[in-house]
């Protein structure tokens, strides 16, 4: 029997893990667990908190360079190895690892992710990225990052090769016939791929993943990124500053998926930074507490670079001085337009602007009571802005504990979020069909 309740559309919510949290100064807080970033128990605990909240998955970004040691965010554990351990400390929640198509070989990527899917019994997703920074390229044999278009051509061939390798074993290849063979040789076949970037004979040396294919996440915002997403992404991590921006991206991607002839739901999950507390004032105080931990000189120096202004003499607790319009700006447009947008819509003080840029940047930030945040999330969810969210807690584990204890129950009361897992795999959590063997 199907009731209205059974078929109600539900949000999908991931915990996006990042060191001590997505606020760059979070590790500076006296209570931060920066000393524990080398202890896998810390990551296991984060996954357990997220699972207590019945979240869909834990999401790992990744990069192939260390970044700014002197005033950047701290390091974090390598995602693939961390996820193997985290999956054993949990039972239901999914895990999404970023793996770069520019630096791995498709065979390694296919095998590592497939192995995690077996270890976790079907709870793995793969966030395909093409990577961005020359420092990363120069750790993997390139003099500089290959051009954007080349990276995307490579990514497309990479994804197709990985999917082919996952399908190189049929689902019923394992026969365990003790008088014959452990696997039916007719059901384990090479792929003999030879393309512009890769030569891969296959078959893979691990049976087809539990989910058929681990769930393919993508986060493209460029034209080529959106095209790739429309063609193969099964779920999308998006960047949207506010509801209109989210609606624009959402409509565009859903249209492209349709145009590509696909009927999959492709849930779109924008990044979301939240500060939640019993009262709005307390929530704002939490935000202010982190913002005040920012190293002032370094932050103003960075803001000077972003804005091409001398910001060093700006007064922290006064409104941001007027900036030239986008059209007059000569530097990188993306970050500058975000800055103008924040100033226009939030009228922040200089310190608040620094804080916003230090926590999620161009992502949406919601500050308030559980009801206020649930209202806003519901608004995005019901009005074509999102199918769910990739939570970017400004501080960890505190930000995700707050969310799980305060916002999740409110979303559950509204019938917008599961009160118990109804499936065992990440695909089931996300409402995605298991891909048939071709």
């Amino acid at each position: 029997m199907t009731t209205a309740k059974d078929t109600q559309r539900m949000m999908h919510i991931n915990l996006f893990i990042m060191g001590c949290g997505h606020h760059k100064a979070a590790w500076r807080h006296p209570n931060s667990m920066v000393e524990q970033l080398g202890d896998i128990a810390y990551y296991e605990r984060l996954a357990q908190i997220a699972e207590r909240g019945k979240l869909d998955a834990v999401f790992f970004a990744d990069g192939a360079s260390v970044g700014n040691v002197s005033d950047g965010s701290p390091w974090f554990m390598e995602p693939l190895t961390a996820i193997a351990a985290m999956s054993r400390a949990t039972e239901k929640i999914g895990f999404i690892s970023t793996v770069s198509s520019t630096f791995y070989t498709p065979f390694h990527a296919a095998r590592l992710v497939a192995s995690l899917d077996h270890i976790s019994k079907g709870r793995i997703g793969w966030n395909v990225v093409t990577s961005m920074f020359d420092e990363e390229a120069r750790n993997h044999g390139y003099q500089a990052m290959p051009a954007h278009s080349e990276r995307y051509r490579r990514a497309e061939e990479f994804v197709q090769t990985v999917l082919g390798l996952w399908d190189s074993w049929q689902d019923d290849a394992l026969e365990f016939d003790r008088q014959g063979h452990y696997a039916n040789p007719a059901k384990v076949q090479p792929i003999n791929h030879e393309g512009e970037f890769f030569l891969v004979d296959g078959p893979l040396n691990i049976p087809r993943p539990v989910q058929g294919h681990p769930v393919l996440f993508q986060a493209g915002s460029s034209e080529q990124g959106r095209t790739l997403a429309a063609k193969c992404a099964e779920a999308i991590y998006a960047v949207a500053y506010d509801l209109p921006a989210a609606q624009g991206y959402y409509a565009d991607i859903k249209q492209r998926v349709k145009t590509a002839g696909r009927s999959a739901p492709v849930p779109i999950m924008p990044g979301l930074v939240t500060y939640v507390a019993a009262t709005e004032e307390e929530a704002q105080a939490k935000q202010r507490e982190l913002d005040e931990l920012l190293p002032v000189a370094a932050s103003l120096r960075q803001l000077s670079v972003f804005t091409e202004q001398d910001c060093m003499s700006w007064t922290l607790d006064e409104p941001v001085p007027e900036l030239p319009p986008l059209a007059e700006f000569k530097g990188p447009q993306g970050r500058y337009s975000t800055i103008l947008r924040i100033i226009e819509t939030e009228q922040p003080t200089v310190r608040q602007l620094l804080g916003r840029l230090a926590a999620g940047g161009g992502h949406c930030t919601m500050v308030g009571t559980p009801e206020q945040i649930a209202d806003k999330m519901e608004n995005w969810f019901r009005n074509g802005g999102a199918d769910g969210f990739n939570l970017m807690p400004p501080s960890l584990p505190y930000g995700i504990e707050d969310f799980v204890e305060q916002v999740i129950p409110e979303l559950q009361r509204r019938g917008l979020f599961r009160t118990e897992y109804t499936g065992n795999t990440l695909r089931e959590h996300l409402g995605l069909a298991r891909p048939q063997h071709p």
Copy 2:
């Protein structure tokens, strides 16, 4: 106070994991756990049994192709991801993963292995191999396997690059200064490597491993392999059919290490296949039971290839017919000389020969009571043949359970093996100093 007991030289013993065991037919046994090879709990259980026996480490071979599905050994889990989980199911035992210097980039290898060293709190070793088979090469972009000498040049540069990346963070780089930086930028430095094969700027994006360097294993037997081992291996997995062969290899490597100016102990651990039971007859029965599971036609066909004879009409339970001497043999010498050696020293029936080739091949096999096996191991250990052994149980988990329950107590009674772990890291188990930061 140092007593004779404190300074007594002790064996080092690893469990070398391989699917359902090192006997190719082990998976065909009615009790085999071939259905569980996709269940990480199976691997965790193997590690727990080995830890109950106070073994130094679990050792994983690896390859980048699926091998013979129709009559080969079954698949196994990808080692790096499996070890992350297995290390969380144990407390003291080490884990050694094979990682190929031909297919990985040094940055990925350094980071994945370093991450495991953090996850396991210092219990990781890396077995460097250069890989061998064209099928593996053709899964990673090569038309065929690069020449042996090129692979070893690459391996040497690879190892030096990985060591450099592990040292790119000083031990005390992490300062957690909440008013300053989480790591001291002066103590996190690039390596700016640009060699024949690799361009890697560094620094690595993970702090120096718990052990400084995870322990470097190697298994070279060729001239180039031995040279590389003498230069950088910290422990060695060897292949030795009998004590004279082991002694020859042992003396050669120890001499080369000395010549290279190194004072490290470099424990040498030959592979060892054991069949153990309360009586010699029962032990032989265990061996026969596995040998009888071999598919006869396929095994004889393979033997025909190895010997360049028509073996299809040979009678299974009669002695092996006489074979031409090595000098007259035109095919690959290594395997053929092993076959001649087995025939000469063991006078096997055809079935016994097939069984020996199907379980460990050129490795030493010991069959008997716990006392008999301990006698032989002690003989190797006391007479310049071995510093310990890499156990290759013909069937798993049974072969390692037998060994841990029956042989380990006998070795402990003789004062040849630890009764409790005295350290927490793999380096400590192996008696290897932690490498200073250069």
